[in-house]
């Protein structure tokens, strides 16, 4: 296929793909909101005085760490109904919410681990170290945005599944490589600068902290990743 023709096709489909990317952001923000709320509860429980609470929180955190997001996605798609009827009103349970819930499970583990560290630092009077939670959280948001592409496998109309729609609609297999690369560029342009900014924020915070945090602690704080 002609390069010019390919470029023209990509430009023509850009608004459609951009609309898909908005969905990636919406799914990710929802996942972060749910995950942060639940993860905060676990983090507070972990720093509590009662050992029972600490143990329960650790167990739940370990659970969220070991469950694969990708499998949960299929689980929710297959097992949870698509609409509920309560008092004659039909409430939909859309696929994108299921994707957010699946991703939120990973966020719960991350927030539980990192917020409990931050809470301890705060109580120990080390405010700067506690504030490291913020760039860490934002970097994790970037990871979740990338993971939100997996929502395409359960039929959410985000950017990757819209790529497939574009390829199907144009019927040109030669376009495939370019459409996928184009979508990849979207992710890179969103994720890379944000990640760079957060790395910078982290370094500034670290230099401001009177007693410097060891590199290993920072590495450990970043460790909780998602698939």
């Amino acid at each position: 296929m002609e390069p010019l023709e390919t470029a023209r096709a990509l430009v023509a489909w850009t608004p459609f793909l951009a609309g898909g990317f908005v969905w990636n952001i919406v799914i990710s923000l929802t996942a972060m909101a749910i995950g942060t709320a639940l993860g905060s509860v676990l983090a507070v429980m972990r720093t509590a005085a009662r050992p029972v609470l600490v143990r329960a929180s650790l167990a739940l955190t370990a659970f969220t760490r070991n469950v694969p997001t990708f499998v949960v996605l299929f689980y929710l798609a297959f097992v949870i109904p698509v609409e509920f009827e309560i008092d004659n009103i039909v409430y939909p349970f859309p696929a994108w919410v299921k994707a957010s819930i699946a991703l939120a499970i990973a966020v719960v583990g991350f927030v539980s681990d990192n917020l409990s560290t931050a809470i301890r630092a705060w109580r120990g009077g080390n405010r700067g170290a506690a504030l490291l939670f913020i760039p860490g959280w934002t970097s994790y948001f970037v990871i979740i945005v990338m993971a939100s592409s997996t929502a395409s496998v359960i039929g959410v109309g985000e950017i990757v599944s819209r790529c497939n729609t574009v390829i199907g609609a144009t019927g040109r297999n030669g376009l495939m490589l370019w459409v996928y690369l184009y979508a990849m560029t979207w992710f890179f342009l969103f994720c890379f600068p944000l990640n760079l900014l957060m790395a910078r924020a982290r370094r500034r915070l670290q230099t401001r902290i009177a007693s410097p945090v060891k590199a290993t602690d920072v590495a450990a704080a970043k460790a909780t990743d998602t698939d």
């Binding site: 143990r55 650790l58 167990a59 739940l60 370990a62 659970f63 760490r65 070991n66 469950v67 694969p68 990708f70 499998v71 949960v72 299929f74 689980y75 929710l76 297959f78 097992v79 949870i80 109904p81 698509v82 609409e83 009827e85 004659n88 039909v90 970037v142 990338m146 993971a147 592409s149 997996t150 395409s152 496998v153 039929g155 990757v160 790529c163 729609t165 609609a169 297999n173 030669g174 495939m176 490589l177 996928y180 690369l181 979508a183 990849m184 992710f187 890179f188 994720c191 890379f192 990640n195 590199a215 290993t216 920072v218 590495a219 450990a220 970043k222 460790a223 909780t224 990743d225 698939d227």
Partner: protein, 536 residues
């Protein structure tokens, strides 16, 4: 925390999640909603396909319009695939599917199929001309591409001992045939006939006789059997056979006139000597036996382990086919094996990429280090699923056209996940090296001194490394997106055949959970050994 307590917790959560209920009277719901939601195919021209505006059109969408008109409601069409159509029905996201669904005794156990049937088709093989194949038995042990969820996959595989390669949709299966991953594509003769009219399949043909001719039925949820909704649909289809509307729509889409529709038109208009319609409802509400699908009226015989399994199903509602059904069990175990292979490949690959990349960057070779760092950044800042698509479909498509080489789905997945996770490992190693330089300014990850420097770096970076490796294990399921027959593919294929989503999804989840737990424990053991032998 103990393994047992995690497992107990897990089960509690699962029980809470897995209950769902369908609406009792669907026709009321549809009238209340004012819209009929029909699942049709988007990848099956001319029965169901996308037009240039992305709308669903074809033989089956036309039928859906006729039904909406008859029920006096709006119509919403939803695209479904062979793999998910019965699932969508069961979960209630569509009211009805008209999606090239073959009517079989087994399907009738998981959905309510509307009688009379509205079309019929058989199964055939699309393959390049010039292959010395004249009979199905010539294909024994050969690789055959197939689309997940098609009802003939299993009997054809069993009868002719085909080595089926299952793909997520017809597009992927056809691409695989084009790329030479298999001898032919096993699919419905009506669909293949549609493809053969197109230029892109010149040089291909359908040399074998069609097998397993079976009628197609519209389907509604299993619990809608005997409802007003079923009766209304049934009457509508009977009316079509009498008026000849189906033949008219068949002509509209340039389909070869089918013997099935011709015969049905005759049958449903036939009158008894008394002048009444032969195919009229009996007092019990059923159609007379001569107007029904003959294949369904004969019962299938079961025995042995299968009888016990079906007994469990009848008693408890749990259809654990992987316990009693040989085909499903070997399918699932094969998936487990593939997943474990993938796990091993990804773990080794991402460690290798991590070490090699970190050494290349830490060596500070002017151009190389910069290039590796750039690549690692791109690999880390783009979604692995997209990377897999780019390599498998994008680059793989170009390579097969130019050189004739086909990419292996498992290798592509292992490569992409190794790069994605490996990139994270590179940065973990580099950070560890920087930390070690605080104590020993001359510390470097050099190839010559790797034997002493690597263990030190691993010890410092152990936490982040393990986190990344555990994540790559969790991500191996992505291979299912490109048709690698691993655990998720196997489980969804079984659900598509058997309709036992609740059982299979729980089995899948627990299996994956145990795999991850195993890997976590393995790394915990390694860490304890490292501490014991630690020299740092």
């Amino acid at each position: 925390m103990g393994l047992r307590s995690i497992a107990a917790l897990f089960l509690i959560l699962l029980c809470g999640l897995s209950s769902g209920e369908a609406a009792a009277d669907r026709l009321d719901l549809i009238r209340k909603r004012g819209t009929l939601i029909v699942g049709v195919k988007g990848d099956y021209p001319p029965f169901g396909m996308l037009d240039i505006d992305g709308g669903l059109v074809g033989f089956e969408p036309d039928l859906a319009w006729e039904i909406a008109k008859a029920l006096d409601v709006q119509l919403q069409l939803v695209g479904v695939t062979s793999a998910n159509r019965l699932q969508k029905l069961e979960e209630g996201s569509v009211d009805l599917i008209i999606a090239t669904l073959g009517d079989t005794a087994q399907r009738r156990r998981i959905a309510t199929i509307i009688e009379p049937n509205y079309y019929a088709s058989g199964v055939n093989l699309l393959m390049p001309h010039g292959k010395p194949v004249s009979d199905w038995t010539d294909l024994r042990g050969q690789k055959i591409c197939a689309t997940q969820g098609a009802l003939f996959n299993r009997p054809m595989a069993q009868r002719y001992l085909l080595d089926l390669q299952l793909f997520n949709g017809t597009r992927d299966a056809k691409l695989a045939l084009r790329d030479g991953r298999c001898v032919g594509w096993l699919y419905d003769d009506t669909a293949i006939a549609g493809d053969l009219t197109r230029q892109e399949w010149a040089g291909y043909g359908m040399p074998l006789p069609s097998s397993m001719v079976s009628p197609w039925g519209m389907a509604i949820a299993l619990d809608a059997r005997g409802t007003a909704f079923e009766r209304a649909l049934s009457d509508i289809v009977a009316g079509w056979h009498r008026s000849g509307l189906l033949m008219e729509i068949e002509r509209r889409w340039n389909l070869k006139p089918s013997a099935f529709l011709f015969d049905a038109h005759e049958l449903w208009r036939r009158r008894t000597p008394g002048g009444k319609l032969l195919c009229a409802r009996q007092p019990d509400g059923e159609w007379p036996a001569e107007c029904r699908n003959k294949a369904i009226l004969t019962s299938t015989d079961v025995g042995g382990l299968q009888r016990i399994g079906l007994l469990v199903k009848e008693q408890t509602g749990l259809n654990v086919t992987i316990a009693y059904d040989d085909y499903d069990r070997s399918h699932f175990l094969h998936g487990l094996l593939v997943t474990l292979e993938l796990v091993a490949l990804c773990l080794a690959g991402s460690l290798l990429v991590g070490v090699a990349g970190a050494v290349a960057i830490d060596a500070r070779v002017p151009l190389l280090s910069r290039a590796v760092k750039g690549l690692a950044t791109v690999a880390r800042m783009t979604p692995p699923l997209l990377q897999i698509y780019v390599v498998f479909f994008g680059i793989g498509g170009v390579v097969v056209q130019t050189y004739g080489w086909t990419f292996d789905g498992m290798a592509v997945t292992a490569l992409c996940l190794s790069l994605y996770a490996g990139a994270a490992n590179i940065f973990a190693f580099l950070e560890a090296a920087a930390h070690l330089r605080e104590g020993d300014a001359a510390f470097r990850l050099r190839p010559s001194s790797l034997r002493s420097s690597l263990p030190a770096a691993v010890r410092v970076a152990y936490g982040p490394l393990v986190a990344t490796l555990v994540n790559v294990v969790k991500a191996t399921g992505m291979a299912s997106a490109i048709g690698v027959p691993e655990l998720i593919s196997a489980s969804t294929a079984i659900v598509a055949d058997q309709g036992n989503a609740d059982v299979m999804m729980n089995v899948l989840m627990v299996t994956y959970f145990l795999i991850v737990l195993l890997v976590v424990r393995l790394f915990g053991m390694l860490e304890r050994r490292m501490v014991r032998h630690g020299t740092a």
